[in-house]
Structure formats: C-alpha cells, structure tokens
C-alpha cells in the first residue's frame, strides 16, 4: 500500500503545481487519454488548481463512455435471454442503451452478474454447463490480454458455453482521429500508462513527430499526473515534440511482449464504432476467425441489432474536446446523472457528470455569497 500514500503526498503535489505554473508562459490545452487519469484529475481537482495555465480535455479513454450504443443494445438483448448468464465489469451496468440498461434487464429477470475478471466468467461457464455464459469484453489494450486469456482458456478447457461480446478499442487510432480533425485544439497528450505497460510507446513515436505534438506516458496517481503535465508543458515551452515516459516504474519502450503476443493470437485489428464519434478505421480489436465459436455476435446472430444514438446527445463532441459538457443543449436538462442520455454522464468521472456536479457547486457557492 506504499504506492497509495507515496504518490499522493500533498506537499509534493503542491510543489509540482508551482513548478507547472512557473514553467508555463501561456495557457496550454492538453488531453489526458485515459479514463483512469480523468478519475484522478476530477477527484483531486487538478484541472481546477491548474486552470490558469492548463486546460485539460478529458479524452476518449473511458471504455464505458466509448462502447457504441449498438454493442450496449446487443448486450441488453443477450442479457434478456433466458438461457444466458451475462457477465460484465460493474460500471457497464448503468450505461444506457437505446431503451434501458443492464440493471433494468436484471430487474425483469435477466441473469446479469458483475465479475472482476473474465476468467471468473469462464469458471462460471464451467460450473453452469446448461447455460450460455457471455462476457462483455470491453476496454482498451489494458484489458485485452486478460480477455484474450479467457477466450483462449475457454477453448483449451473445452468450455463451449462461454463466449465474449467484444467491443475492444485501441488508443493510437483515436489519437490520430483527434489530431486529424480540422478543429482540433489538443496541443499535448498524457498517454495512458496502463495501456503503454502492455503496448509500450513505439506506436506513439510517429504520431509525435508527424503531428509535432508532445506525448508523455503518464501514470494514475496525483503525483504521476502532475509530473506528466509538467513534462508535457515543458516540452511545449521548449518547442519539443517527443514521446517521454513519466511512468517509469511500470512502462518500458517495447511494452509487455508476451501480453502483446497473447492479444495478437486471439484478436485482430478491425474497424470499430466509438460512441458519439462514429467508426474509426482500424481502431478496434475483434476475435480472429479461428475463435468464431467464442464470438457472441456470431453465436447469437446479433448482426440485425443496430442502433441510432440520440440526436440530442453531443457526447462525441465532448469526448473530442470540441465543446465543454455544459455547451450541450441537453446538459442538465434531458440529461442528468440519474437519467443519462450519453455515457459521459453515467460515471461520476465521466466528463459530463463531473461538470454537472462541479458546475452545480460553483453556482451554489456564488449564490451563497462565497
């Protein structure tokens, strides 16, 4: 538990804040890619403390937020089947589909269970041979190795009542899409430390040089984030655009090669839809043809399930940093944390939910004469 206190030391944090303020000669716009980083930034109020020198745009790196509506609807459909035990990480359960969420399906009798590891779902399948167990395989490169392992293991053990509904996405194509957008405002990136623990950072080197944008591989603790911001701002001030590694205690340039091999053995690169953003070419992972038997989309013929996102929800523009959440017409009206239209309003760290809470606080504070 040393990490918990060591990387949260308030004195060191304030020193880093001052260092960032000292090095910045202007206000820079940075994007933290990963939802875990957004979580820390919002919970610690880092964006607020640094608001005079840095604008943080919360990137598309929250798997809950970017899983397309269509896949959610497919999950809901499967969860509603009598022969299926549907398993998922906890925070996917409240993500709204077109008409409901997994909790509501559960209230109507669907067998929906929270698991902490995909291997638990394989075990569940082994113990329930008369039921179909489906695991909702979402996430970035970070969760891909464990999910690949589950698929591989199920096949090895001959557990043929186990399948996965895959909605894996990968980071570099999303960053490319953001940088290619004509109205892009992002000047530097905090790359996701855990994704890079698996993948390393060689993929980011061509991005940094082609788009002349600094990219700093960054961890998740408050001191990690602050140091990552400091390193990015320093590059910007010095006119450099390199890939640097803040998260040295976890990340090597080449990443975790056995994990990469495992992922490559089970998954292949596919085009993938991102909620609110649309299809980004080669931005996702799907099962290789030899694992078709473990592919829930094929097993349950889910192709017919298509979905249109609510027009009022501008989550895609928020995720790309085009608009602030409060600039969305639905914000706080049709769309609230209790009745979210889009995923960024679901979790407390989602960009929209974070602004919803914080904005309310600011208004109340002003009204209270603070």
């Amino acid at each position: 538990m040393k990490y918990l206190t060591e990387y949260r030391d308030p004195k060191l944090a304030r020193t880093l804040v001052r260092r960032i303020q000292a090095v910045a000669t202007r206000r820079w716009t940075l994007m933290e890619v990963c939802g875990g980083q957004t979580h820390t930034i919002v919970r610690q109020g880092i964006n607020e403390v640094l608001s005079d020198v840095v604008e943080m745009i919360h990137g598309p790196g929250c798997p809950v937020c970017v899983t397309p509506l269509e896949q959610i609807d497919r999950a809901l459909h499967l969860a509603g089947r009598e022969d299926v035990i549907f398993t998922s990480f906890g925070d996917m359960l409240r993500v709204p589909g077109s008409e409901c969420d997994l909790f509501q399906v559960r209230a109507r009798g669907g067998d929906v269970r929270i698991v902490y590891s995909p291997l638990d779902a394989v075990e569940l399948a082994r113990r329930n041979p008369d039921r179909e167990v489906v695991f909702f395989a979402v996430g970035f490169e970070t969760t891909a190795p464990a999910n690949a392992m589950a698929v591989w293991r199920a096949r090895e053990l001959g557990v043929d009542n186990f399948s996965v509904l895959v909605s894996h996405v990968t980071v570099p194509p999303a960053m490319t899409a953001i940088l290619d957008a004509p109205d892009n405002r992002v000047q530097g990136f905090l790359a996701a430390g855990h994704v890079c623990t698996i993948m390393g950072w060689t993929e980011y080197e061509p991005l940094a040089s082609r788009y002349r944008v600094p990219i700093v591989v960054t961890g998740f603790e408050p001191l990690d984030i602050l140091e990552g911001i400091w390193m990015t701002v320093r590059q910007l001030e010095e006119g450099r655009h390199e890939v640097e590694n803040q998260y040295v205690r976890s990340v090597r340039r080449e990443g975790n090669t056995p994990a990469q091999e495992l992922v490559e053995g089970v998954f292949q690169v596919v085009d993938r839809g991102w909620r609110g953003i649309g299809v980004i070419p080669s931005s996702g992972l799907g099962l290789r043809p030899e694992f078709a038997a473990q592919d829930a989309e094929k097993k349950f013929a889910l192709d017919g399930i298509r979905a249109a996102e609510p027009a009022a929800c501008l989550a895609g523009d928020v995720l790309r940093g085009r608009i602030k959440p409060f600039e969305c017409p639905a914000f706080g009206r049709q769309c609230t944390p209790e009745r979210p239209l889009g995923a960024p309003m679901v979790s407390t760290e989602g960009a929209c939910a974070a602004y919803h809470n914080f904005g309310r606080f600011r208004q109340e504070a002003a009204a209270g004469g603070d």
Partner: protein, 358 residues
Amino acid sequence: MAAFTEGGRSLASGAVCPAPRNDQERVQLGHGSGGKMSARLLEERFLPRFGNRHLSPLGDGAVVPVSGEEIVISTDSFVVSPLEFPGGNIGHLAVHGTVNDLAMMGADPTYLSAGFILEEGLSFEVLDRILDAMTEAADAAGVAVVTGDTKVVDRGKADGMFINTTGVGMLHAGFRPNPQGVCPGDAVVVSGPIGRHGMAIMAVREGFAFDAEIRSDSANLAPVVAALRRDLGGAVHCLRDATRGGLASALNEIASASGVGMELEDGRVPVPEPVAGACEMLGLDPLYVANEGVLVAMVAAEVAQKAVDILRNHPVAAEAAVIGTVVESHPGMVVLLTGVGGTRVVDTLPGDQLPRIC
C-alpha cells in the same frame, strides 16, 4: 456525427429491448442502495401515502408522543448475505442497527421487537449462532427483546434468513440532535475508520483474499452517544450513523435536510489501510462503503476537540477525528478539499457504487 450514427437504424425496428422505456415500472437493486434511487422511491411512492409529521422528517427514527411523554421508535430490516462474516453476523447487525438508529435520535434504547423470516433448510447450527449473537448484543446494549415473530418460507425464497427489528427508546430532556440544529461553523466529527463493514462483506461474497482480513465494524454506538450527551448536551447538534451508502450519503442527507453545505478535508477521513487498498483494487470509493459502527456528529466548533476526546475514550470510537466543517455556501452539497488543493463534490450516488473498469 459520423457514419455510425447515420448508418444505424433504431433498435425499435430491430431487436427488442427486454425492458420497457419506463424504468420506474419495476423495483431495481439500486432502489435499496441508500442513494438517489432510494430517495426517489420514498418520495414518489411511500411518502405520498404514509407521510405525516412524524415520518416526513425521515430521521433515523420517529419521535412520537405517548401519554404526555415523547419516545422514539425506529425499525430496520436486515438482509445481509452471507449471514456470517468476519467481525459478526446478521444477529449482531439486527440489534446494533436499530439500537444505533435510536441512539442517533438522542434516545436511550430500551425495548426491541424481532421478526424472523427463515428459509426452509437453514441449519439450526447457524440459526443458534445468530440467535446467540443477538442475545449477546442485546444484553450488552441493555435492551430486551420483548416481542417477536417467526415465519418460514420455501427454500429459495429468502437468503437463509431475514430479520426485522423495531426499537423503542426514551428521550432525555434538552437533548434532541437533529438536522435542523446544524449551523454553519459546526465541526463534522466521525467516530472511527470507515468502510470496514462493506468491504468485509464484499471480500467474503466475492471470495477475495486481501493481505489483512477486513472485519465488520458492527458495534453498539449508544454508550458513545450517551457520553456525548452527558458532557456536551445541546452542543451536539446532529448525529447520524453512516450505514448504507456510507459516510458520503449520511453527510449528504444531513446537508440537504439542514440546508447547509459541508467541507471535508481529504486525508482527515480515517480509512484503514486494508480498506483503502481493497477499494483501490476494485475501483471503489470508501466514502460510499457501508459502516455498521460509525457515526458522524455535527457539534459546535468550540467543543469539537472535546467531542473527539470523549469519543476516543471508547474502544469503538478510538480513532475519532474532526474531518470537516459545516459552511453556509453551497447548501445541500458536500465538498472535499483535496490534497492537491482542489475541490471535489462528494455527491449522493444514483444507486449502488459500481466497480470501475479503469
């Protein structure tokens, strides 16, 4: 917005969503979370029907007049699974839960009723252990179980057993802790480390083995409250036990009911290391994890240190601490001042806390 949206067709024309659009049609687990869904359930369905001046303040219990005296009545149901866990069992909870609710209203617990719903097949060995625990807890708290009921339901219709207890307590003149008594400037005091009960249950339920065993904090808080009453009396403005929904939900309830804001200081809220570690691993926030032996007190600023000293004399409150202040600004809202120097709104959750993916 790109091809994805334009190319799609509405779900309505394709597959069928297995739940209806109106999410209020059925009870969901989140309605029992102690969060916003629970509050809405009460506001929309229970209060319009049952609301009266005793019920509507929604305190931990109700103050009612009986033959010229005022007594406090409180009721609670216990549905924990598993029935036994490190640090206690459902029997301890059933006594402590109701006794603590009475204590938070400022009452001395005196009598309990106990209703048991037993599932066919429950072993007598387990039942005996639970009843022994109840007896032990009731004796220690000085309350008598004076009436009760048992029912048996088919196998599969209850999780081993459910217990309901109702308690009656006597008030003391001049001691009525309640949200209306909370004023800006009050100190917010917590009686001990948070998150132990919820994480102990989770560890058993999910089969997690953490480095150090986490034990439930189930405890009788009435002696602690009695000590606060004797030494500080009316300077104790409000008390609440931070059970379902954790410390964050308890503070939000009080902030809303009192029309004040609260400011907490990160790092002051005591979180045991094993709880912090387990929460970190699972992506949970200890502020929202249930306790069964932790109270939060709003006391006049000038007696804050004294309150902490009084609490620390009791083993169940040995790690009591001042964690924040009641403020005039942002009424109804609890805000945490972070170590970095930022602020974070500690809101009530919609439903149960969900483990995060990343």
